[in-house]
């Protein structure tokens, strides 16, 4: 059977998907063990035991000063920022992307601006961001939004602009105005793409969140990572990163499922 036709069932997929990840973990363990054989104090590739110890302290023991369980407080703070940032970026992408994609004059006017914003690395202009937004939560959320929204806007705009001309023509013959085309033809068809775009933006969103928390923060997963980087505490960094990856993958799966449920027409096999 040709490989293109080899469609696997759920359990086969899970099994196969776990394989390379398990392999990677194994490679890590071997390398870590090797390094510890050379230098029992090695900090760079900590052994699982060290990670468990370090993490259980952060997860289950309250901090003396604040009385909080550091790990959960960090997670909550970061998820809040990420959620806000992703939410605002998604809404922006949908609205701006739709308008840019459907209306050529608006696209002509703001397309170049959006491109410009998309390619300007926001971390290079932090000083201006700070005087405009201060150093609080706003600035962190804004950094995420500025970091990911332009790419998302451009993606949605391109997707909407690529809708078959026939559909736009057809809608007009059915009496639809530009506005009606936007909300009834373009918007629903942009939704599955929007979810896909959010999925692709998850990685960058975490990057910007962590960057924002590295700049100035007193709580958050990124804060902790950059703080303990000072003494190369990889036994904290690696579990934190794994946790971030897990959270992100859960979001990814949730987005995929949502898309399949909510927009069956976009996923059904066509023929």
């Amino acid at each position: 059977m040709r490989w293109v036709n080899l469609h696997l069932n759920r359990s086969q997929r899970i099994l196969l998907g776990a394989l390379p990840i398990a392999l990677l973990v194994l490679v890590y363990l071997v390398m870590a063990a090797q390094r510890h054989a050379d230098n029992p104090m090695d900090k760079i590739l900590p052994l699982p035991g060290a990670m468990v110890r370090a993490m259980s302290a952060l997860m289950f023991q309250a901090d003396q000063l604040t009385g909080q369980m550091v790990f959960w407080v960090d997670t909550l703070a970061s998820l809040q920022r990420l959620g806000l940032g992703l939410g605002i970026a998604t809404l922006t992408a949908l609205i701006v992307g739709l308008v840019l994609g459907v209306l050529p004059p608006v696209r002509a006017t703001f397309g170049p601006l959006v491109t410009g914003i998309a390619v300007i690395p926001p971390i290079a202009l932090l000083p201006i961001l700070f005087i405009a937004l201060g150093l609080g939560e706003t600035a962190k959320v804004a950094l995420i939004v500025i970091g990911i929204a332009p790419v998302m806007v451009r993606d949605i705009a391109a997707h909407v602009a690529a809708l078959p001309t026939e559909q736009i023509i057809k809608a007009q013959t059915l009496g639809a105005s530009s506005w009606q085309i936007m909300i009834r033809v373009a918007l629903p068809q942009a939704m599955p793409r929007l979810l896909q775009t959010v999925r692709l933006a998850l990685g960058p969103a975490w990057v910007f969140l962590i960057s924002a928390e590295a700049i100035a923060a007193d709580v958050g997963l990124g804060y902790r990572i950059f703080l303990v980087r000072r003494y190369l505490a990889m036994d904290v960094i690696i579990p934190y990163v794994a946790w971030i990856a897990l959270l992100a993958i859960l979001m990814d799966v949730a987005l995929t499922q949502t898309s399949k449920r909510a927009f069956p027409w976009a996923h059904g096999a066509s023929h």
Binding site: R35, D38, N39, P40, M41, D42, K43, I44, R53, A54, L65, L126, P127, F130, I131, G134, L135, G136, A214, I215, A216, A217, D218, Y223, F226, L227, R229, R230, Y231, L232, A233, D235
Partner: protein, 337 residues
Amino acid sequence: SQGPDPKSEPRTEFTIGWSIYAGWMPWPYAQQSGIVKKWADKYGIEINLVQVNDYVESVNQYTAGKFDGVTVTNMDALTIPAAGGKDTTAIIIGDYSNGNDGILLKGANSLAAIKGRQAYLVELSVSHYLLARGLDKAGLKSPDVKTINTSDADIVAAFGAPDVSAAVAWNPQLSVMKAETGVNLVFSSADIPGEILDLMVVDTATLKANPNLAKALVGIWYETVALMQRQDAEGAAARAAMAKLSGATPEMFDSQLATTFLYADPQSAVAAATSPTLIETMTLVRDFSFSKGLFKGASSADDVGIGFPGGKTLGDPGRVTLRFDDSFMKLAADGKL
């Protein structure tokens, strides 16, 4: 990358990491002006100086074994490589911060006013240490101030934000922040002279196997420092070049040097290394570090041992991982290089 300990074998090629700081700028200048090559040739070795823009990363890379030596402060030498089990020897005490680190407040003139404010600083760094010492001297306790970890690259811009009113920083950032209107320097390292030391450290095993590396480094250092101390055109040119390398104007660089106490001649450096105040300083530093949890998994501050010239130790003598070695500076002082 760490094979069956290549560090203990004699080698001819070495990599030293450095990062931008007023007291460390002689290193890249020495590289550009050929002083490094001159001394390396003399000892039949090769020395690559590698600039790392991010200070912490330079120390991390040293800890990870990517560098044979690195420029570092006494506190970070203790908390990063030494606390991580990497046996490290400080072969040069280059200077101490004599005002290069400071606490800034907006709209207040005394350190006591910091109470209840949020202080922006690089947590767990010498800034944090300086803040702790300042609070101590001002009779405040650490919960009186809430610290916000701020990256050193962004602290200048952060301090420009309206909602930020207290910060701890080092130069060159400090001088820029101080220049803003309404900003006061309320405490600085000049108030705790000799406690924040800037060092050149090398891996102890590498040093044992390759004493020539240390000799060359010490030779480079004192020749370059002597050059930059000269009050003539050549000295000015050297300082101007260093200024440029650090991204500053000559005036700014000179003002940074003014708050740096350079142990310009090896004699004074040896004296500093052998003085009992070094042990006192390191006691303060290590107690602070331990209290902040920087000695991972250690049950007491004594778990990380520190060795001093003349065989004196602080902490567990069986677990000495940070050593102050004055022998090479002495060679320079005696003109035996």
